[in-house]
Each structure stands twice: as C-alpha cells, then as structure tokens.
C-alpha cells in the first residue's frame, strides 16, 4: 500500500475545478477552493480499522437476515418478522414494485455495499493497482446512493409508535444486529467515500 505523502491533483465533483491538495490527515477534510464542497476526508490512519468494521458489519448483516427481527403480540397471537418479511408481505399483497423497492434499498443493497467495501479494503491492503478494485470503488459510490439501512431502522421505530395503542412491538436479536450494522457502517464509511479511497491508490 502506498503511503499517503505527496500532494495530488483532484477534480471537484460539484464544480469541476481542478486543484492541488495536500495529503489529508485523519480527522480533517479538504474543501474545494471555489465551491467549498468537501473534496476528501482524512478517514482513519490505517485501512485495518474500516476493514475490521466492515467485516463485522457484514457478519451482523448476515445474522440479522436469519434471526427474528421484531415480533408483535395481539390477542394472544404472536407474529414474528424477519428483515425481509415486509417486502415479502408487499409482494403477497400484489404491490410488486413496492416489494422490490423496499427489499433492494432496505436489505439487499446494504448487504452488497458491505460486501463491496470488504472487497475494496481487502484488495487495497494488498495491491492497490488492481483495476477490479477501482471499479469496485465506483460501484461502492453507486450502491451508497440506494442503500438505506438507517432509514429502515427509523421506519421500524415509527411503526412501533404507530402500533403502540394497538399492540406492543418487541425487538428480536435481528433488530439489535441491524442497529449494529447501521452503527458500524457509519463508522467505517468515514474512510470509504471514493474521494478518500483515491489517495490510497498507487
């Protein structure tokens, strides 16, 4: 892995201005001289930290998919849900578009994003010249737009409030795993925007 030392030329994503920037230290970020948008984040000193966070998040994602997510008790009957149950119920109700949309943005794309992040960080720690790795960085940026695990989590809490006077919603192990996915991912993504990964390339 190349040490981050030399100044480099970057193009601002928002205003197209070309500029030289110094290496960005952890905890700092570089801003565009013209439109003040963030060009690049310092992220973590070592790629081991986001790698460890991403792998843990991926394991949690897998666990969250197979363990009970939330359960609802109403009149002695208990209804237990998995993460994907919402999208399956929408499919059964004939809302195929909504089903695919919630399934993709809420569950599948976050998983794909974590997998891509693990791949990018694993290859970057070894050999930064891989074309596949550069492509994966761009894929990661695209998946990031459509990945909404945090929005899903807020949706769960709003649903719990809405159901409060009808029945009580209780959290299963899957929900805690999902919470971990959201927290770990937001910590890992400090080092995972394409502009910041760029400075690791040789």
């Amino acid at each position: 892995m190349k040490e981050v030392l030399a100044p480099r030329t970057v193009r601002c994503r928002f205003c197209d201005a070309m500029q030289r920037i110094q290496p960005v230290l952890p905890g700092h970020h570089a801003s565009c001289y013209r439109c003040h948008s963030r060009l690049c984040r310092g992220g973590y000193q070592s790629l081991d930290v986001p790698f460890a966070l991403s792998v843990t998040a991926l394991v949690c994602w897998g666990f969250a998919n197979v363990s009970p997510f939330v359960s609802l008790e109403y009149g002695g009957v208990v209804q237990t849900n998995f993460v994907l149950s919402g999208s399956l119920a929408l499919w059964a109700a004939g809302q195929h578009f909504l089903s695919i949309l919630t399934g993709l943005t809420g569950v599948v794309v976050p998983g794909a994003q974590l997998l891509t992040a693990c791949f990018v960080l694993f290859t970057l720690r070894r050999d930064a010249s891989l074309t596949a790795c550069r492509r994966a960085v761009r894929l990661l940026a695209f998946l990031g737009i459509w990945s909404m695990p945090g929005v899903y989590l807020i949706g769960v809490s709003v649903a719990a409030v809405k159901l409060a006077d009808l029945a009580t919603l209780s959290a299963g192990p899957g929900l805690f795993a999902w919470l971990l996915v959201v927290l770990l991912w937001s910590a890992a993504s400090l080092s995972l925007d394409p502009e910041s990964l760029e400075q690791r390339f040789g």
Binding site: T9, V10, F97, R134, V151
Partner: protein
C-alpha cells in the same frame, strides 16, 4: 472545423487518476488515453432529463398525498390513512417528536427537493451567475436528504407484514404508497441526473 486549445478541458480519470484532455462540446463517451476506461461523462441533456423526472415527481405528488397509503381492517371496520392523516394522528396521540420526524421526511423533504431543484434549473436557464455558493450548497443538501423520505414506505411494509390477524386486525397497502415511493425514487433520480458543475460553467467560459 479545426480544434483549438479552447475545445479541450483538462480532467482526471476516475479509474487511474491520470490527467487527460476531454473534448468540451462532444457528448459521446470519451476514453482515458492511459487506461482506456470511460471518462466521467458530461451530458448536455442531463439537466433536461432532471427536469423531466422532476415534473413526473411533481405530478405524482398529488395522488401520493390524496390516496391512502394503507387501509386498516379493525374488528370489521375499515379505516384508511393518508400520509398527512398519519402525521396528525401521531401528533394527536402525544407523539409530537415522531410526528415531526415523519412530517419532515414525508412532506417537507419531497417538497424541498421538487421546489429546490426546479429553482436551480430555472436559475441555470436564465443564465444567472449569482449565489453560486448557495446554489451548490442547496444541491448538496437535496442530494443528501432524499433517502429519508423512504421512512413512510418502510413503515407501510412493516405494518402490512406485522399486523396480519385476519378479521381482528390487518393492514392492506393503499394506492398512495406506490405513488409516494415513485415520488421519492423520481426525485432521487432527478437529483442524480442534475449536473452541479453547470452552475459554475459560465465562469469557466469567461476565463
């Protein structure tokens, strides 16, 4: 027509980080001379496409708020809930903070995106060069907050899968839910299609 230095601009290849020249007014795909990877595309029609997607979103915004997003069959009675009714109910049951979150995510954010992007597109059409910093900041906000409108779609999916107790209590999706999801997706696509560098374009040509 001969090509001069003014017909080219310098850019950086996203794939290999190498500097390369890009023809300015050619809209086809251009490749990096170093690694043959596609250069980031500048589409002349990108803002027009953004406007079209936005118009579709604005049209769908009406049925999304008019039709119920779900129906509740509770002990033989059927009730329906639109987005706005859901928020009013949250406020009524003393859950004002949650109601506020849903109000922002489901009402304010789509409105902000539709009106904000329309404003940006109109300003570009007029060719105004003022407040470029503010306009870039507005675009960054619009790009970031879009996803949070999906809260209500996830709520509907959860309610429908959880409350399935037959005639006692069950939820069914309404027509408004699909319309609302379309509004969210279309505004997100419009924000992605919008090219923020065009805000700064005229200055580049003056220099």
């Amino acid at each position: 027509m001969a090509e001069g230095a003014g017909d080219f601009e310098v850019t950086i290849c996203d794939a290999c980080g190498g500097g390369c020249r890009r023809r300015k007014r050619v809209m086809g795909v251009q490749h990096c001379p170093h690694c043959r990877e596609r250069l980031p595309r500048r589409q002349r029609k990108s803002n027009e496409r953004s406007a079209a997607l936005l118009l579709a979103a604005a049209v769908l915004y009406v049925p999304a708020n008019w039709f119920p997003i779900f129906y509740i069959d509770l002990l033989g009675q059927t009730e329906s809930d639109t987005i706005l009714q859901g928020i009013v109910e949250l406020f009524g049951s003393g859950m004002a903070p949650v109601g506020l979150v849903v109000f922002f995510a489901s009402i304010m954010v789509p409105l902000l995106k539709i009106m904000g992007l329309f404003g940006l597109l109109m300003a570009l059409r007029r060719g105004g060069a003022g407040r470029r910093l503010g306009r870039t900041r507005l675009y960054r906000v619009i790009e970031q907050v879009g996803r949070w409108s999906m809260i209500d779609v996830f709520v509907v999916s959860l309610l429908i899968s959880l409350v399935q107790f037959g005639a006692l209590a069950s939820f069914r999706p309404g027509q408004g839910a699909a319309c609302f999801a379309c509004v969210v997706i279309l505004t997100m696509l419009a924000a992605q299609s919008f090219d923020p560098t065009t805000i700064w374009e005229s200055e580049q040509e003056e220099v």
